[in-house]
């Protein structure tokens, strides 16, 4: 009888702790972002610039004009797709750094189809997208199967593939695919039918290069979330990442799950490439993605590889990128400092110990409270406001 009593108490407490944990996670993430911004503020102050104006640009700049909102959404689309593309292999605990090669492969495929293959209207959009996904998937398959079948280290394989593909891409854009007769280095434009419809056209507000890729990206994220949480394949990928021995024991073909994680990730990165070609540039350009591939990794890890959270992290990070650029343009804070502030924010936001520390304190305050004489009946809810002072004292004593 005591057992059941304790059990139900446990259950209540567990739920309460979980709820509290979520709340703490959320509020602490916001707090760390704030802390990072404060440090950035001090950095600007230290360099003798006007931090208030700089922050105005950083924080409100991206929303000031619809064009900038478009720039933010367009950037977030690519960045989030890249984050998603690594989040999937990360879930299988495969450190794939290959988003860059997959993106370039996707971009090449999309461009080749969209430039050279005459297609009827709707197909003209979809076929290049499919080609890009396929090419990205293929580019993911190489390191994926090298890892799964041969045990070759995926970090090395993906880094090498990046180096190779980027150079081959460079060669193609400068050579065979270069627009004939142009002094500029880029390919021809994609056919008008292949262009991802700009949001401007839909909404009638000038949204720059933002296009239907954005809602498509949202759909992709949801699809990937469903894949991970609601499909057998997603289950296999998760279990493989959590404990491959267990997965194998349970009848999961681990090499195949690993390969799939790379292939799916590759396909998504390929779509990011197609988005750049069909939506953003309308053609192949050298150095297509800038540093986005790496920042995609940051976004995925910040979001703990949860596809839906990747969207939030991607929007956040892109906002920061956009705000940083505006800050550099509108104020006298130089690019270097903008980069430094971004680095500080990245470093601080990833600091997990802060939320955990708070959670631990709450738990301890909780334990102390329930130990009190009135004890049993009141349970956890009464104590959640806690006694920060007491908790602090205890922590200090350790």
């Amino acid at each position: 009888m005591t057992a059941t009593l304790i059990e139900s108490e446990d259950r209540r407490e567990y739920r309460a702790t979980r709820r509290r944990g979520l709340l703490v996670d959320l509020s602490m993430t916001l707090a760390t972002v704030l802390a990072a911004l404060v440090i950035g503020f001090l950095v600007i102050l230290a360099t003798g610039k006007d931090p208030v104006r700089a922050y105005e640009a950083l924080l409100t700049g991206p929303l000031e004009r619809s064009f900038r909102v478009g720039r933010w959404l367009e950037d977030a689309t690519t960045l989030t797709l890249l984050g998603l593309s690594v989040a999937i292999p990360f879930r299988a605990r495969q450190i794939s750094l290959g988003a860059e090669s997959q993106l370039y492969a996707g971009a090449l495929a999309a461009a080749c189809v969209a430039i050279f293959l005459p297609l009827p209207p709707v197909a003209a959009v979809l076929v290049p997208l499919a080609a890009a996904a396929l090419a990205g998937a293929g580019m993911g398959f190489v390191p994926g199967s090298m890892k799964a079948r041969l045990g070759a280290n995926e970090i090395v394989a993906t880094l090498m593939l990046n180096a190779i593909v980027v150079r081959v891409y460079d060669y193609l854009v400068n050579g065979p695919l270069k627009e004939p007769g142009s002094s500029a280095v880029h390919s021809e434009r994609v056919q008008p039918d292949s262009v991802l419809t700009p949001l401007t056209e839909w909404l009638g507000i000038p949204f720059g290069r933002a296009n239907v890729g954005f809602p498509l990206m949202l759909l992709t994220a949801v699809a990937l979330w469903l894949l991970l949480t609601r499909t057998p394949l997603g289950y296999r990928i998760r279990m493989t990442g959590s404990n491959p021995h267990f997965a194998e024991y349970g009848g999961i073909r681990v090499p195949r799950a690993i390969e799939w994680s790379f292939v799916i990730g590759g396909a998504v990165a390929g779509l990011a490439g197609a988005h750049l070609v069909q939506g953003v540039y309308g053609r192949l350009e050298p150095g297509l993605s800038g540093s986005l591939a790496f920042e995609g990794i940051v976004v995925a890890l910040l979001a703990r590889n949860n596809p839906l959270v990747v969207v939030v992290a991607g929007l956040f990070y892109s906002y920061l990128r956009a705000g940083g650029d505006i800050m550099e343009q509108q104020t006298d804070v130089g690019t270097e400092i903008v980069v430094v502030i971004q680095a500080v924010i990245v470093l601080l936001v990833t600091a997990q110990a802060l939320p955990d520390l708070l959670k631990r304190r709450l738990a301890r305050g909780q334990a102390a409270a329930s130990r009190g004489p009135s004890g049993t009946s009141r349970g956890p809810s009464g104590t959640s406001q806690g006694k920060p002072g007491a908790a602090h004292g205890e922590a200090g004593a350790r």
Partner: protein, 551 residues
Amino acid sequence: MNESWDTAGPAVAARGVTKTYANGVRAVRGVDLDVPAGEIRAVVGENGAGKSTLMKLFYGLEQPTSGEILVGGRPRVLRGPASAIALGVGMVHQNLMLVPSFTVAQNVVLGVEPGRRGLVDARAAAEATARLAEEAGLAVDPLARIDEVSVGMRQRAEILKALHRRARVLILDEPTAVLTPQETEDLFAAVRRLRDGGMTVLFISHKLREVREISDRVSVMRAGALVGTVDTAGTSEHALAAMMVGREMTLDVARAPAWRGATTLRVRGLAHAASAGQSLHGLDFDVAAGEIVGVAGVEGNGQSELAEILAGLRRPGAGTVHVGDTDTTGLDVAGHRRAGVGYVPEDRLYNGAALDESIADNLVVDRHDRPPLARHGLLGPSAVRAHAERLIEDYAIRTPDPSVPVRALSGGNMQKVIVARELSVGPDLLIACQITRGVDIGAMRFMYERLVAARDAGAAVLLISADLTELLALSDRLLVLKDGGLVGRFDDTTGLTEKQVGLYMLGVERHDHARLTAGLDGTTGTHPTEPPPHHEEGPGDPGDPGKASPA
């Protein structure tokens, strides 16, 4: 190093010690415990009673939330293991704390390496290890890599680690859970020697028989609190069990005679070449529906390899395996599972569970792509949750919620998750390895009941265990493995004693080929028509020629 001992006081003691973990779990509640020097003190209690936590407090791995720890007769503040080690406390952890790629000797000296000016003298380390091993009677190979030696040797290496640090108090947290009976014997002999040399030993085990055998006194914990301490001589296993769980409790499971059905598992000429571990050669045996066939053998004689082959985790080199009508010889794990094989692996942490995933997810690994969980290629989270809730209920898994990660469960509950998964599919063949390793008496009894229930529901059960008592209590028939081959076969286990089986395990006696393959179709020296001989022989005369089929 431990000159500051007050020899008059207790070697270790706790005064009003309470420990609350960061997540709010209060593992130890107001414990007062005194252990005088030179005593072997057993600490028993159910899984999660707080035994390990209390020991960690003595070893400085955790700090008490309130109360006081005494070592060497004086109150101490142990900031970490280093300060406990300095005071002469050594601990062998429940989960061994060894560096896999290091040699035995390197592990033994880790932290207090011999050698001058920041260098490690490898030779001196090996010599010191060998000398200590000699003195304590703990046989180890100092130069072997830890990940290549048996669990028993790892256990001994752990003890040597403590001895190397000149421990005066030795904490052994379930050291026998993974040892063979012989290894346990050797360990006990060594522990007694150490005690006679003045060492204080704290010994934790779920095997009350061992507790009775080795300890001077027993302290019983329940739900974090100390229930009492009794003289070993004046108590019984029954009394201890009752103290632990608060009511009467035995391990005797009522078991009707087996009702053997058709042959479910048919193994013929099975051979396997293992790159590491024991190879198997020429195994022939059957397991019928509705019987429990035990596999006895000194650990490392091919049991694990056999289990893994039967589960599809390894490929046999030669021979055939049939489960029901399916030839599973070339199939992968999924194929085996489809053929109706359930498997409780011996190491639940290694491949039995994904520790960071939820209980619910852990319960569906073999059925996540089939109805009712998955339909039209979609895995329904509510179906998975409902499935978990049902099993949590049925198997009395103690957890607040199916979404709790398995890591947060106690050992016994973790094991229940695995058994629940493997039994709930209703397997035709269940391979159960070391199912009660490290679980408390309540859970043990529970597992036994479940196994018998599965048998009675028509499953063929192959029970592999290092615990002979358990094998004899549960098996309808018994096979003995030695050096990767079958050396004994007992078709009736009534009246069979551990001693008799032990002779086969050690290779002193063996059954002849004809006896081993009697009644098996498709093997030499068999009359397919003749029913397998039952009940006709006394277990004491295994070589009875009348029972062997004529060649």
